[in-house]
Point group: D3
Chain length 340, copies 6
């Protein structure tokens, strides 16, 4: 395998505890255990495409940290830019919905996790920036606390100094910011947007979070109107994202766009059946990064990213597992019989 670029993510590793099948927590006797997180998902996906994946994170110094580290290594990620400190790991419980009953995610307290309390001294951000080509951040980390926010900016600045690629996925989660969330979040987001080379977002982020306005009503028209404004105000070279349509019979459809050098490219999937929704956005992000790194055309990139995102919905667990060949197959796919 031909590793082209060294891609790192700064972010928290989460423990996912999933109720098997479609049962509720009150019915569960056992939980499926796995480890993921936005940064894990993006870098693991890129590892599957032949790059070297790194995490910049802090794991607890106990058997849970050992289990997380093993799981991350299994995905092909390197932990040599990570630390072990503290005792807790962020975790969430997942109950899979069915039909009209939605899935539910219940978080345990993350603020005391090893990552969210790790001292800035633990990280040598200059040395880290030296050893990688790309860094990926996301808005979930931005929502945590001042400590990790400051670490995020320090690392971004070290990357910027060296002219290296900075990716930022807006990923605004209302439940993490609480009341008046948009107001509280806006300043932090603007700081990141000014540092980033590639930003993942859609028109909702522009309108609700960043305060842009539009006369358009249709979602796609809104996109066409506001994304160029965003790119201009914050000087962002590439913006990409998806608009999701959800159908009643467990099918979703993704309309993906990419805006680069004042030009839009689009790619829409057919409606497709969804097995595990979580982590699919990260697969899309990884596709955009891979397309850029390997100098695909803008149209190839957005198609590759959309197919990667679609495929991630068909795989158990948060983390994308598809190879380049499988993503490309999904692009030309017509429904087919068993492969034997």
């Amino acid at each position: 395998m031909n590793a082209n670029y060294r891609v790192a993510a700064f972010g928290e590793v989460m423990m996912r505890l999933e109720v098997p099948g479609h049962a509720l927590l009150v019915q569960a006797n056992s939980l499926a255990l796995s480890f993921s997180g936005t940064g894990v998902n993006v870098t693991a996906a890129l590892t599957n495409y032949g790059h070297e994946g790194y995490l910049v994170t802090t794991l607890p110094n106990n058997p849970l940290g050992d289990a997380a580290a093993s799981a991350l290594k299994k995905l092909g990620l390197s932990l040599k830019l990570s630390n072990r400190a503290g005792q807790y790991i962020g975790s969430y419980f997942l109950e899979n919905g069915f039909g009209v009953r939605p899935s539910r995610v219940t978080y345990t307290n993350r603020q005391e996790s090893s990552f969210n309390t790790a001292s800035t001294d633990h990280y040598d951000f200059a040395a880290i920036a030296e050893q990688i080509d790309v860094i990926s951040f996301c808005g979930i980390t931005l929502a945590m606390n001042d400590l990790v926010r400051s670490q995020m900016f320090l690392l971004a600045e070290e990357m910027r100094k060296r002219g290296k690629l900075i990716v930022f996925d807006c990923n605004y989660r209302p439940s993490l910011w609480g009341k008046d969330g948009y107001e509280q979040a806006k300043g932090h987001y603007e700081k990141m947007l000014q540092l980033a080379d590639i930003v993942m977002m859609n028109e909702k982020d522009a309108l609700l979070l960043l305060g842009f306005t539009t006369e358009q009503v249709d979602r796609k028209e809104q996109l066409l109107d506001v994304i160029p404004q965003v790119a201009k105000r914050y000087q962002i070279p590439i913006i990409a994202g998806t608009q999701r349509t959800i159908y009643g019979d467990n099918k979703h459809e993704l309309a993906a766009y990419m805006y680069k050098e004042a030009q839009f490219s689009f790619y829409s999937t057919e409606p497709f059946a969804v097995y595990d929704r979580i982590g699919a956005g990260d697969a899309f992000t990884s596709g955009i990064i891979h397309g850029e790194l390997t100098k695909m055309s803008q149209q190839e990139t957005i198609a590759f990213a959309a197919a990667a995102g679609m495929l991630a919905h068909t795989t158990a667990g948060d983390t994308p597992l598809a190879s380049i060949a499988e993503v490309e197959q999904a692009l030309v796919l017509t429904v087919s019989d068993v492969q034997r």
Copy 2:
């Protein structure tokens, strides 16, 4: 939690032994174990809505009875109006169908179960009637034997004397009544219909079981024709029920009606995907009871009951587990993304 009413059910607790997934019994090495029954399902659903649920039943005096008792307590039900006697518990085996292959239920012998052989002396029906506000019966118990039928009538009469609410779900099961079942069943059903305040049934019960006739061909027209006649002949204040449409792709649709004070209300669901069909009728019943107890309008009641019924199809196991908030959410539901 604000328990408003004391709601009891008289009936058998069943052990459900389910082949995991979609395998057949000949393929099974293990079975999923749970406990349910019409009375369990109705009262447990009402417990989720904030009422106090009681069972009037008899469980075996052995480890199976212990397991059943624990399972019922887990659902929030009180067993203080129940007994322990005898050695057997009714049970059934469930093989889940798939697509064109129907699900199969295989019963073991119930006639010798603790409930179906418990002496009438075990129950102090007058004292029981004193301690509850509502009693729920169903046609399955009526099909068992003379002993439990007589107990059913005794308890109904004690409730009637005190002017307390009597609910009866017709629930006619051909396999329990055998050849000439309608003939054998009719007298017993009529006795119950005369005692009940709320009856669950649809036009088929009226036509096939009670012998009403109609010129109408369309199911809804038949309903409009015969239900008022039924209400009149047996002096039943409220009648409610559903007509189910089954689509080939594992989707069902419920057309629910409620007839009260000479007026019909209707509520039809969209077609919805079905995860576990069993017990859904009991969820509907519990919704009607809850609507009446909490003085919802007739239209609110039928909508709430239909949504409760629909939601019960999306949950593993016989027993409805939805809260009021979840039922209300299902009423206004559009398909939605994961809740996190």
Copy 3:
């Protein structure tokens, strides 16, 4: 494989529902499903030794009967002498003990099972006797009801007429006979003892059930005293059995004996660890039958039977699965390392 003899058993097939591991029924969400029974165990063990095994039984005519039939065929048994009728199968629930906490077996009602209610017309005992060389009965069937007892005697007599081998395992279970059990059982047992060629029993059966007396106190001395009397009174050519010693650390020890032509042979195992106690007696019985059929010496037979019994304690499930080679290996066994 060289099938020497056609060996049948008359008896009930039981469904075993086992709580996994060492949990209690109140803790169980699932149960392990298997099918067994004394007759199943004895004939399946003999099938493993190269004989043809048959069951003379009646299974329910429903998916449970199908599952039982498949399980029996998997053990190599032929069902061509069996019937399908009725709807129920006897079953029991097993909770595995641990250390000072004993295992518990909870039966469901067997009296209504297909086997225990099958009409005598279902069986053509003369034709059955023609097609087999050996029949095996046990005291559990004797405890059921007059119907199956009469069938048992009819078949035994058909075998006797043809000079074919009749085996009877006393297997007295107090819980099946109730109060005054010995008195009620004695006559039935005596009838069987007079018909049998090989009887499995020990001194307790002689003393408590058949009313023999002895001055001896030590169990082995009692055996030496009463077994010859039993053989003489009922004209039994061969009697064999075991005395079990149970140690606190989950180890048992078997002292086996065989009495034939006025001579005793003995074989005692070392204490051995026990994995699944149920069905081990049937393995011993099968060993005695196999020794006799293949004309082993008396000493070889008792050793083979004891080793077969010991080995059955180390295997999951009721039914012995060891081959002749494995039994012979257990006889010369010293503790050994993994075989690879």
Copy 4:
């Protein structure tokens, strides 16, 4: 049960190791174990219809062979025409796809399996042909090596001599024949086609493998054009097969045809949901054989076979498990509620 015909298959028994649910091998901690194979599937299905099923195969002489033998007996198959020799069993790993992600089958090396290396001396083909009424072959065996091909022809010729029924399912698998597969395969196929009484194939086999040509473009038109030519050239009394349409939402549709005495019959299913695709073709074959053996009309036969094939898609595992009654029910089926 009334076994009418003795139906055997010559072929390899495969071990199927399936990743549970929809996970990938890289995510799996455990695998579901079962045993199947084309010959197993066809004869087991016929056993369910009341015939006697036999396998002519060679299983390894070790615990894997024991496990396979037990599994086959459980399906009701007789192994008295089979051998035990060698040490290996062919096996494959199955990862179930989801939506746009296809299922994957990974084979381990089969060439060294007991079946594929068994000496011809192990089989007494003349004696085997005496003891059976029907033999079923398939193109997978034809693809293995010269040794088993020669055995296949020997057995076919012994059957032919005795005027007994020979069934051959073309079942061309490109991955087994490698580059220039059609060329290499053609001669072997032609030899089998000349020996067979019933051949399973469709227009693709005629065009790609046998080199027939047609001007038609539509699949059905192609069929109408080339199948009569095939029947004529190779003197095949009966040819049958299916054309499969795959829809995006996990639904398939089968258009089945049967050509006999210069006449076509057709039967098309509605689109139906698919649970386990593997082995469904074998169910179709078994239906054709059963129809012929029991002298159904041509139209009844093709309908029965198509329904058997459809039903096999709804059952876990490779091997069809439906009874005649269940196949007939599927023929008249409208979607229905739970059977209780």
Copy 5:
């Protein structure tokens, strides 16, 4: 069932996440989920003895809280003296050791749990004290923080005012108190000791935590020396506890004592095999409480408590499940065969 006393516990409910079998967290794909806690264990055990069990606790207001509440109700506990507030529940991960490899417990952060952050206003301690006869506290709660410590003392004082029984289990856990733990803990412990009627402790607590001294070296001699001093200094009517001996082969032995009215009673078990060590101390505590409530003699009480403790080691999970009959059977137990 005849509930004699209303017994409550004040304390945290913990989520137990156990690696199945003897695997490590790094090897685990799934975890067994259950809910327990010292207070849960003590009151649930007493519920099994016929008392009414109550928890005074705060559970999170989310699906985890729902799951905990269901699990507690399943044990027969009432939550009517409990609250729902906050979002987190304390949890721990359990890896079962084997032989020379010890079991490991890894806690997640408890300080932010619903119980450890619940405002004192949530509880009406006076009203609670009115509704119960006995309150049980433990040293784990004492180690949490000032808030819950103050709540503990408030409730103890309300009980004291009413002359109701206060039980306190010292349960000193070094890991919860950190460096200089004994010093920090001592004052809090002394406050509780002065309030308690029954105290669970052994000589180590007296020597290490409370600072008593002795010239004795032997553990039992130390006990005889210091426990009377403790009783005297803090005016404690009853003190009881166990000294545990651990043998290499997974066997433990308990030497239990009880000191009351200046008199010691003792009971020592035989060495017994251990299945699940956690929660066994709580079973012992429940035995002492039950003995006192039901006016057993001092010797009967200590024997009952020791047997209850021993039995709890043989049962999966933290919470004792034995009935009075089972405890009494364990007292007279000799090793025995399967019960059927």
Copy 6:
């Protein structure tokens, strides 16, 4: 983590398919899947001690190879010195014994595996030798075929040239060498012994395989007599090994020795309970290597290695998972209570 040395192993990766619990293959519906091998075990153990572990192997280029690669990365091993080629992976089935019933291992054909058929061109042994400090070989690879034997010698010679450490574990497996195995193996073994710096063996290898003789009868005396002769003849700097005693109650005892610079050191464990026997020898080997690399005294080394070996018996799976701290704890271990 402080990686001191780069340790590689040359050898095959095996797929382990284990029947859960103590069941037999004929009883299994599922198998636990893992990947291991002598080389995997030795290098993974050293990775846990802080070294960098590498495998020099060839994995198949299919989903099984992907699964193996993921599993190896999870253990912390690097595959950058490994290849992907071919299609098959060696595998074995494990049935866990119980008490007197031994465990059974059944292999599938390994000769066609990717490793055993990989062309020598795939490996650049000179480059590999440059990148590592230690290479570990074992006698299992030596038993495979001439191809891998030649590769083994090539790599050993490249290491030798560079003066790097060569470890060889004799690991003679009779079943791999067949009849006259010792004769066939001797020459190959002698070649490796002359190249190795550290050899794992005991007196049996010297006597049976290499043809040394002794007058001694006692195993330890034999060791003292022949090991110095072996060291001398083949010029081996360090020889180490264990003598295993197996007790009936699932306990083993290891007497370990190390011979270096004409001096013996010994360390014997207490008898300890065994959970998973496979791979324990590799843990011992890793302990010897670690001791040597970190310049422990000879006595420290042998004790560390013996404790590592002992601990590996207590952990599920083939591969040792203990940290240095856990091995050191096992050395000073007295039986202890749960760690919380």
